[in-house]
Subunit: 331 residues, 2 copies
């Protein structure tokens, strides 16, 4: 991976768990600097030896001077004001973000910083902690880093972002923003609401039910212990896809309820649920290495993500990119 493309520099705006971890992970490979609105956060990052800008404007000026990749690592509620500042001070910057919902961010970027060279990111990682002190360089190792593309995207703009994610240990999954948001509704946002509903049905059984709860209840409700404001922020911003996923879940449970009441059988939900869960365990089993090259690279990248594959390497530049991917054997 010695000629893996990397951004000339990385400017991280928001130095919490994800931003702070990204600074630590990227620093050995590329010049890194950051900014955060919190004075204590800036002081803590500086004390740990990182380059920290005094103000947002100076961070963005420096980003322009160094052709840095600006990474929006702030809460989604802070993105509009950051995008306005970018449009004023670093309008044509390389830009990505780390938000868990991608279409709404793309819409905001197009509206507020339309000249920015933007590719969305979603590093699928985290811990239950937050803040600069909670960060670690290893947070991205063996995790999935989604990059969002559409047919108009520039592969040469994507390559250094993918290269950065690969360099810090992630699998890179390219996909369209809307496809990401549909998937996230199913595998991340819906699970939080199912866990919350299950936790409440358990608690409605009173102290006896809670005292008998064991592994299946503990597993099924674990993410309901996430701070409600975090769950709301991610779920409410993906309402359209989440409502569709909730309707599918309601239909599955409703049909099973009807079957149990009328015929006493749960054959369908149990066998189909078993099939689906075992497919999850086998999801990467039939992938094999495949090299992508040529002019329609963005189309090829999108198809890698769509069929459940991922990118493992990028090399070259300037229209002669070569991409290593894991791709289903039978596609």
């Amino acid at each position: 991976m010695s000629d893996t493309p990397l951004p000339p520099a990385v400017c991280v705006l928001g130095m919490g768990l994800i931003g702070g971890s990204l600074m630590r992970a990227a620093a050995p490979h590329v010049p890194v600097f950051g900014w955060s609105p919190g004075r204590d956060t800036r002081a803590a990052a500086a004390a740990d030896g990182f380059t920290v800008a005094e103000g947002l404007e100076s961070a963005l000026r420096r980003a322009t001077e160094t052709d840095a990749l600006v990474v929006l690592a702030a809460p989604v509620t802070a993105l509009p004001s950051l995008l306005r500042a970018i449009d004023e001070t670093a309008p044509a910057t390389r830009l990505t973000d780390v938000a868990g919902v991608k279409s709404p961010v793309a819409v905001e970027v197009a509206a507020l910083a339309p000249r920015a060279r933007y590719i969305g990111s979603h590093p699928m990682t985290g811990t239950e902690h937050s803040g600069w002190a909670a960060g670690s360089a290893g947070l991205f190792a063996d995790r999935t880093w989604v990059t969002t593309l559409d047919e108009d995207s520039d592969a040469d703009l994507w390559a250094p972002i993918a290269g950065l994610a690969l360099t810090i240990g992630s699998r890179v999954v390219p996909c369209e923003a809307d496809a990401h948001d549909d998937a996230a509704a199913r595998i991340s946002h819906l699970p939080h609401l199912m866990a919350a509903a299950l936790a409440q049905v358990g608690a409605m059984g009173g102290p006896l039910a809670l005292s008998l709860a064991a592994g299946s209840f503990a597993d099924g409700t674990r993410v309901a212990a996430t701070r409600p404001e975090l769950v709301r922020a991610m779920c409410e911003s993906n309402a359209e896809h989440l409502i569709e996923a909730m309707d599918e879940a309601l239909a599955q449970l409703g049909v099973a309820r009807g079957s149990l009441a009328s015929s006493g059988s749960l054959a369908k939900i149990t066998s189909q649920g078993y099939e689906a869960r075992t497919a999850l365990a086998r999801r990467f089993d039939d992938l094999e290495p495949f090299t992508l090259t040529g002019g329609d690279l963005v189309d090829q990248l999108l198809s890698v993500g769509a069929v459940g594959g991922y990118v493992t390497g990028v090399s070259g530049a300037g229209g002669r990119l070569s991409v290593e991917a894991m791709y289903p054997r039978d596609e």
Copy 2:
């Protein structure tokens, strides 16, 4: 616990994971013998040094001779034929079972072996494996062993069963069979159906959704990998309570779906889910030791279970039982 009451002997019918583990766990404390319909199972248990009857009838004759506690550890589908044999050969035996649903078993016992001195059990333990070879003496340590009672139950009949469960390391929760089944629907059976529904909604998102799945989806769907016939057996036999729990879950999700669609808010489900899940984590925090004695012991035992407490010790016999329990401080 030196004067903890124990049954004079233990006769285990069905030597799979639970029955085989119970034989191993009980053997250091009380004479144990068993029987299983499978010749290979009987041979394996005998080869491991356990006393195994050649036939069901000889096992039951020996149980009568030794006043043994007969433990039904066979699949629930095999219980009627075992109960008929008991009524013929050992009609007044001490009897318990280990099934995950308690009211239906109590009804069968009353119908098919009405003279048996029966107290239901549900040791809440297990692994994903089955059969004699999968058993271990440690399977009951630090787990909950439910004992079912009603107002007509004889505390002196309950005591040696509770004593056996305590001796092999379990917490003993006394409760009514119907209360157990309601709790089990909420904290064990519903979680399996929620996991199955969630797994399917994820799989309906195609390979991209599965490739992005991480911790919240893996946790929320874990028990959907249980063999469907096992899930059906336990859920379908508890249909009445399970339908009620499914209706509550459907209502929770349906209300949240309506709120998200109309106002964009998930405030209620996320905050209530968080409260319920954190209550689970705190469930044993406010219990303190308490001693039960006196004539209304069965009533007191039932109230221990109903308020989320559990039994930690039993001593004495013959109307002079003393029971140590953990009980909520403020009740």
